[in-house]
Structure formats: C-alpha cells, structure tokens
C-alpha cells in the first residue's frame, strides 16, 4: 500500500514540476510537427508504393512519428535525473524508507502522462493534414507507445544515475538515438530497405511497434505484426524496468 502512496507522491512532485514549466509541450511537439510539415509532403507521391498503405500517405507516416514521440519523450530524461543526482535530491530520498522502485516509477509515470498529452495533441493536429484516425486502433497503439516510453524513460533515468554527468550521457544518448530511429522504419518503411538492413531492423524493438502501428492505424487488430509487437515489447519492458530498479537500488551517486 505504501508503495502506491509513495509512487503517487513522487509522481505528483514531478507532475507539479511539469505544470510549473509547461514549455515541455512545445519542445516535445516541435520535432514531430517539423516532420509533419517539412518531411511528410515528400512522401505524397509514394501512396500505394511498396510498404505504403493505400489511402493517404500520412496513414503510414504518422504511426512512425508517434513512435518517435514516445521514444524521444523517454530517452532524454537522464539529464533531469543528473540534475537531481548533483543536487543530492536522489540521495536524500534514498535515505528515506521509500522503496527504490517508487523513486523510478513516480518519474516514469509523469513522463507517461506527458507523452500521452503530446501524442493525443499531435494526432489531432495531423487529422486536418489528411490522417484518418482509427480510434480503437489508436487506443491499442497507445498501449504499445506506453511500453516504448516506459522502456526509454527507465533506461534514461538509470543511465543518468549511473553516469551522473551530462558529458558522459550525451554521446550514449546520441549514439542510440539515430540508429534506433533509422532502423525502425519510423521515417520510411523497412520494406524499401535492402535485405541486410531488414535483418538488422528485426533486432530493434521499436521496429515491431512501428509495423504494428501501421496495421492498427488501418484498423487491422488481428494481425501477426500486432501480435509480434506485444510479444517483443512486454518482456523487453519488464526486463528494462527490472534493470533500472536494480540500478536505482545500487546507485552510489
């Protein structure tokens, strides 16, 4: 019981921080909007081409962008963690009887709320551009996005605790960022890729979510790709969260 109370308290703390400084919405929206406005028009003539669903090209592109939003919403949280390590906030809380898991969970939960707000806003913006929103499909997609966010936010926070230094965090984050995005087919479907790239992509959990997202956007629920996404993401999320919690437990900051 105390666990849930503590998670709630620590979530509230971070959420208050967000509400006091709601710039995050603009920052988080800017990347996908730039893609939507400056990149998506390049794809217009590709509707119906291999890998692109028939109908508006955004139906293929937006599910990829949603994964980018979820991915980036979590990946960069390590910087804020490092601030708190340096200010002794984490250490102070580790000397209270609160569980290490709640220290992590409160933060991840806040990131999850932030991401959901941004994703919903973005989808609403995309509709006038020609995106056909499939509501049930989108709701299932949100579950997959939540798992991406939980994974990256847990990973980013744990990395911040381990490294405790922005200069060490940046190369790792940047090193992960681009390959994951390019190898997931978020921007262009992996069907267009040569065989060797497609093989590598299958080791990228985000790839499965992107593929599943495109099926869900078309309203195909009972699809092998949707099944694969859950099959990969559920254990992957659990493993990363366990690892991150252990890291919080052991952290000597």
């Amino acid at each position: 019981m105390k666990l849930f109370v503590d998670i709630g308290l620590l979530f509230k703390r971070k959420m208050l921080e967000t509400l006091r400084n709601p710039v995050f919405i603009i920052v988080s929206m800017s990347t996908p909007i730039v893609y939507l406005v400056l990149f998506a028009p390049l794809l217009n003539k590709l509707a119906g081409v291999q890998g692109f669903a028939p109908g508006h090209v955004l139906n293929t592109f937006i599910p990829g962008l949603l994964v980018i939003i979820a991915f980036l919403s979590g990946l960069f949280v390590g910087y804020n963690m490092i601030d708190e390590v340096k200010n002794g906030v984490l250490e102070r809380m580790r000397v209270t009887p609160t569980s290490r898991f709640s220290l992590l969970a409160g933060r991840v939960l806040r990131d999850l709320v932030n991401m959901t707000v941004v994703v919903v806003l973005f989808v609403l913006i995309a509709i006038p551009f020609g995106y056909d929103l499939n509501v049930p499909g989108f709701l299932v997609e949100l579950v997959l996005l939540a798992m991406i966010l939980i994974t990256t936010s847990s990973f980013g926070n744990a990395l911040g605790v381990i490294l405790g230094d922005e200069d060490k965090l940046s190369p790792i984050i940047q090193g992960i960022n681009l390959p994951i995005i390019l190898l997931s087919g978020m921007l262009l479907p992996m069907e267009l890729a040569p065989k060797w790239l497609q093989v590598i992509a299958h080791f990228n959990p985000a790839y499965y979510v992107v593929e599943a997202g495109r099926q869900l956007a078309a309203g195909h629920f009972l699809n092998a790709k949707v099944g694969y996404a859950f099959l990969f993401m559920v254990p992957f999320t659990v493993i990363v969260v366990i690892w991150a919690t252990r890291t919080f437990q052991r952290a000597v900051s």
Partner: protein
C-alpha cells in the same frame, strides 16, 4: 531519553578499488555517540569522513565491522535505521523546482507521516529554522544560506533520533556560516543529537561537544575540543617584535627553518609559534631575535588550537591542506 548510544560502530571498514590499487577509505573505525551530543568528525578531504557517514546512513554497505544506528544494525535493518535518522548530504538534497513547504511535506509523507502531521511538523520547522519569509517560494530562488537551512529542515522532518550533517557549511559565506551554526546550537539546546563532518577547525571547535579527528581512514584522536587541546604536548606563544611590520616577514621566514620551531605563523598581527618545550625553546628564540638585532615587545603563552592537535597526531597541519575561504 535512554542512555544507549545513538551511534555505535565496531571496527568499521570500507575499501574502494582505484587506479592505484585498493584504497582503504575507512580502516577500522570505532565510534560511540550518545544522545544529545553534537559529535564531530574533523579531517581533511579524503580522510574517510563522508564514507563513514554514508555507511551510517545506509547509503553504502560496510565491507566489515558493525554499525548500529538508533538501535538498529545498518546492514540487517536498513529500513529501521532510515526511519530514525535524518541526513543532509554535501549537496543539500532539497528539490529546487518545488517550494520549501512542498519539500518538507513530501519528505514527511515519504516517512509515512499523515498529511496532517506533515503539515504541523512543516510549520514547526519553518518557524524553527526561520524559513517563514520564503517557505512558499520555489527553492531555485533561494540564496545559498536559505537553501542550506531548508536542507536541514528537510532532514529534521521525521523527528530523527540523530541528524547527520555532511560538511554543512562548505560553500557558505561567513555570515551564513555563523547563522547556520546558531541554528545548529538551537537544535542542540532542544536536545537533538547531531553528527557532523567538517574540515573547518573553527567549526569543529564552536559546534562540537566531542569530536574525532580522522586521517587516512582512521580515527587518530577523540575527545572534547578542550581535552584534545590539552593533550598537545608542546607549548605555543605569541610574540610581537619592535618595528613589527618590517621585521615580521623576514623573521617568519627564518624561524620556519629552525629545528626547535614546530609551527609558526601570523595570527591577529602577532607571530604565533610553537616549540617542543618553552623552557628550552624561549632561550633559543631569544638568540635568534638577538642575532637579527630585533627586540621582543610582548610575549604571551597561548592555548593550543585544534590544528595543533591535528599536527601532532598526523604530522601535518590541516590549515595547510584546506585554505579557508
């Protein structure tokens, strides 16, 4: 109030791997802190003070030995230890994007206090540590001294049986240091038990009822500041000489290289020097002054300082290592 010690350690040890091999950060520390005491750990950076504190506050496990804090073993019952202690680390620990009051309330709730109890306790501490003026402002806007007082208040939220303060005044200007000292004295008057680490001699002298001098992972001496100073086996005097301004610098330089002089420096416009034994040291000093053709104007026997204690026990002066500032 019980007469059981609040902190007890036996042969506490902790080593860290480093490039040069294994560093024995804490190498067999035995401690006893009684309720109501302000107990100090004095030593240079790297002496093992913070590492000891981190073991006592359950942040890192000891390699060997035993530590009992507030009646609970740090390894076997870390949760019970946490419930009964307060801890203010070197970096503070207050959450800067939150207000002072929010910091206090959250801390209370994390300790399992009810919302009402947390509010009452927060009000109490805001009053006690003079936070009223800025308690509802975001902590980002606080000055260094204000932030430190909030850190201490956060550490006291759960009414701890012992409050650990790690280098509490490092980075504060003299006025804020004095202010924090006053606050700590106030807490002590209310019966709090405080465990403090510091590398400031004056701080240890002013605040601590009892202190342990630590060097290279070991406690080299322990006692009240007064008792420690009495242990110093050499004599110290201050002198002033005629035409002091012109002569002092040259004299200082000369005396520094004399074998019979253990320590020499300038203090409040006088030359302060320590010799093994005044009976033989004074005549030798006179000869040096005669040789320079300088006459002594005043001479006064003075009490040894904690730095003298430190010098005698470790062979070096703490003041040389950590310039005040």
């Amino acid at each position: 109030m019980s007469a059981d010690p609040v902190v007890m350690t036996e042969n506490l040890k902790k080593s860290f791997p480093s490039r040069k091999g294994v560093v024995k950060a804490v190498d067999g520390v035995d401690l006893l802190v009684m309720p109501g005491e302000v107990f100090g750990f004095l030593g240079p950076n790297g002496a093992g003070k913070t590492t000891t504190l981190r073991m006592l506050t359950t942040l890192i496990p000891p390699d060997s030995g035993r530590a009992v804090v507030a009646g609970f073993d740090v390894l076997a019952e870390p949760d019970q230890v946490r419930r009964n202690i307060g801890y203010v680390g070197q970096n503070g620990g207050s959450d800067l994007p939150a207000t002072g009051r929010e910091n206090l309330l959250l801390q209370g709730r994390l300790y399992g206090m009810t919302a009402a109890d947390s509010r009452a306790r927060a009000d109490e501490l805001i009053e006690l540590l003079d936070l009223t003026e800025f308690a509802d402002r975001v902590a980002y806007t606080y000055s260094g001294g204000q932030r430190r007082r909030l850190d201490v208040a956060v550490g006291l939220m759960n009414r701890p049986r012992v409050l650990f303060l790690d280098e509490p005044t490092t980075g504060l200007d003299p006025q804020n240091r004095a202010n924090l000292w006053a606050q700590i004295n106030k807490l002590q008057a209310e019966g709090a038990t405080i465990f403090i680490t510091t590398h400031y001699l004056d701080e240890a002298d002013v605040l601590c009822d009892r202190l342990a001098i630590m060097d290279e992972g070991k406690i080299v001496d322990e006692g009240t500041p007064e008792a420690l100073k009495k242990e110093v086996a050499y004599d110290c005097i201050t002198i002033s000489v005629e035409r002091h301004e012109e002569n002092a610098a040259a004299l200082l330089d000369l005396l520094e290289h004399k074998d019979f002089v253990l320590e020499v420096g300038v203090e409040d416009g006088h030359i302060r020097l320590c010799v093994g034994d005044l009976a033989s040291g004074l005549p030798q000093l006179m000869r040096v002054l005669d040789g320079q053709g300088v006459a002594m104007e005043t001479v006064k026997v003075v009490e040894a300082t904690l730095d003298d204690v430190f010098l005698q026990k470790t062979g070096y002066s703490l003041r040389d290592l950590t310039p005040e500032g």
